[in-house]
Amino acid sequence: MSDNTIPAVRARAGEKKSPRENSLADHPLVQLTLVRFLEFMREPEALFWVFAFPVLLAAGLGIAFRNRPADVLKIAAATPELAQSLRQEKLLDVQQLDSEAAQEALRTGKVALLAAPGSNGAVEYRYDDTNPEGRAARLLADRAIQKAAGRVDPVATTDQLMREAGSRYIDFLIPGLLGMNLMGSAIWSMGFAIVDARRKKLLKRLVASPMPRPYYLLSFLLSRILMLVVEVGVLVGFGAVLFHVPLRGSLLDLGILCLLSSLSFSALGLLLASRARTIEAASGLMNVVMMPMWIASGVFFSSQKFPDMMQPFIKALPLTAVIDALRANMLQGSNLAQMAPQVGVIAFWLVICFALALKLFRWR
């Protein structure tokens, strides 16, 4: 068969053996990274979850928990006289209701407290003492009633109001969301892409080519870093511009912290994706790992609220360390040295997960 080779074909085959161009763009690592980046950018859902979702969440929560100039509490009074006395207090919004309507309003939470006449000219407060609004309303209502009846305060007091950026809920929330986002995007992008490639036998196909295997994993980390710049920039920028969330620490430290965190979560994602053959198995595994951290690591509320005996475990979670360090940097202006314990926890997870993932990783 090969005896009657067509000369033209052979000549063409020979001429095509051109040496590889020295262009950087055709380096396998550059190509692999580029391809990862393109695949990600062409996935509208991923773009939404990584970039838009955290911003929307921050905006929503920021608006819901914005600091209002002194809350006005709604209460009900059973008689016009009581209502009259209570209206002297500016922090109360008093409605006069007949007793049936007042009971109904109290039960459904439309008012925090009901003031009704008791026996012998006494006043009876009805409220739920487990509700902070009820307790506050009780104090305010009682002060108004007593003052109206002629009580004079023995000590003169004045108020000096402080409303400082850095101690509001949005200030607490933005670093938490940033940490959660660093975790989610690293684990998801790593996990889904690798398991999907394994499922489609694309991993096996790549391994059948002369692709240097470490480049494949490295390309994930590089594309992660590219994405990180946008991801962190969008959320931190959003918080700083719209809500004046402070950035008291050095931005370089913040960058290093985000990079280290993202690498650590990527290693965790790589570990979770090292064996799974189906998307279902991988996403189950990822949720099992991430769920406890969403709850316990202090994204939305302080992790201090958990019992003391759980604190050592919670402190050892990578997301807790990341969020604590981010808050220390952004809100307290701590430098990296002051965050050594957190940085240590993050680095520990990075090393352990990466070593295990390399040992367990299955290419097919």
Partner: protein, 314 residues
């Protein structure tokens, strides 16, 4: 590649691979000469893919020896990868990338080879260069897979069932590309369970069953080795007029007789003596003939003769 024309491209000795309780490859010996297309033929589960993947260095064998282009996977994997073109069975390339991006990615792994756009032109996908892989038809996807295998200008091309599931036109396009590669004097190892594909493309064929090679030679030799060149297939009779099969077997020139879905298949040496004898015998038995066909024996007939089963059967 002139320097290896006279040598073996692939030498496999006493290869064995067991998966849990299934013996996928059972002491296989194989030698593929450089240049031309070698076909590995067999039904699903015969061990073709396992054999090929061991040869491609993707699956380690339990025992046995594999030498590809005179090298071993244990010592020369990196050099070997540069010289092989591989197309695996049902790989799905990334659907979000374009044809050009995909080929360019694979091109970046090889030290030598044509530009991505030239390889794309060779597999006739120029018009689809900027289309997403997900938008390609089955045949176009296979041609893209072939482009990814050809992009490093390989000396040895491994194709694992390259036309399975494609329509006839798409299959012919793939065949033309394979023939073009073959004409450049390089080597192809092709697995298939399509007879026509093997007969058209392969210079030599090994038929595999249960992890072993059960026949080896050129398609012509294999067909000749079944001792009969012609097949006669007919349907006759009905429940009230059953055929007297032993009498048919005694007709001069009939080598073998078997029945299949109500039809009778005869392997005969010469049509011009056996067919008249058959017709005479049917007349004697007073059985009406409803259908009569003849064809030259194919590799399918070889396989059925050797194993009693069809290649496409599980």
């Amino acid at each position: 590649m002139p320097e290896i024309v006279s040598k073996s491209a692939l030498r496999v000795r006493q290869l064995r691979k067991v998966y849990k309780d299934v013996v996928a490859v059972d002491g296989l010996d194989l030698e593929v000469q450089a240049g031309g297309c070698f076909g590995l033929l067999g039904p699903n589960g015969a061990g073709k893919t396992t054999t090929v993947e061991i040869c491609e260095g993707l699956t380690p064998p339990d025992s046995g020896e594999v030498e590809v282009l005179g090298r071993h996977w244990s010592s020369d994997a990196a050099q070997l990868r540069q010289r092989l073109g591989i197309q695996l069975q049902d790989t799905q390339l990334s659907e979000k990338l374009t044809v050009h991006e995909t080929v360019r990615l694979f091109r970046s792994f090889f030290r030598q080879g044509a530009q991505a756009s030239e390889v794309i032109a060779r597999v006739q996908l120029e018009e689809k260069q900027n289309s997403r892989v997900g938008d390609l038809s089955g045949g176009q996807k296979q041609r893209l897979a072939l482009a990814c295998a050809l992009v490093g200008d390989p000396d040895f091309l491994f194709l694992d069932e390259p036309t399975t599931g494609l329509d006839p036109q798409a299959r012919r396009q793939i065949w033309e590309l394979i023939e073009e590669f073959k004409e450049s004097g390089r080597t192809i190892l092709l697995t298939t369970h399509y007879m026509d594909e093997a007969e058209r493309l392969c210079d030599r064929v090994a038929i595999m069953d249960h992890g072993k090679v059960i026949a080896l030679g050129t398609p012509r030799e294999l067909i000749a080795s079944t001792c009969a060149d012609q097949m006669v297939e007919f349907t006759a009779g009905n429940p009230s007029h059953a055929l007297d099969l032993p009498a048919l077997r005694r007709i001069a020139g009939v080598r073998e007789l078997r029945t299949e879905n109500g039809a009778v298949l005869l392997q005969v040496a010469e049509l011009h003596t056996s067919v008249p004898a058959l017709l005479a015998e049917l007349t004697r038995q007073n059985v009406p003939l409803t259908e009569l066909r003849t064809h030259s024996a194919t590799l399918e007939d070889v396989f059925v003769t050797l194993t009693g089963r069809h290649l496409r059967d599980e």
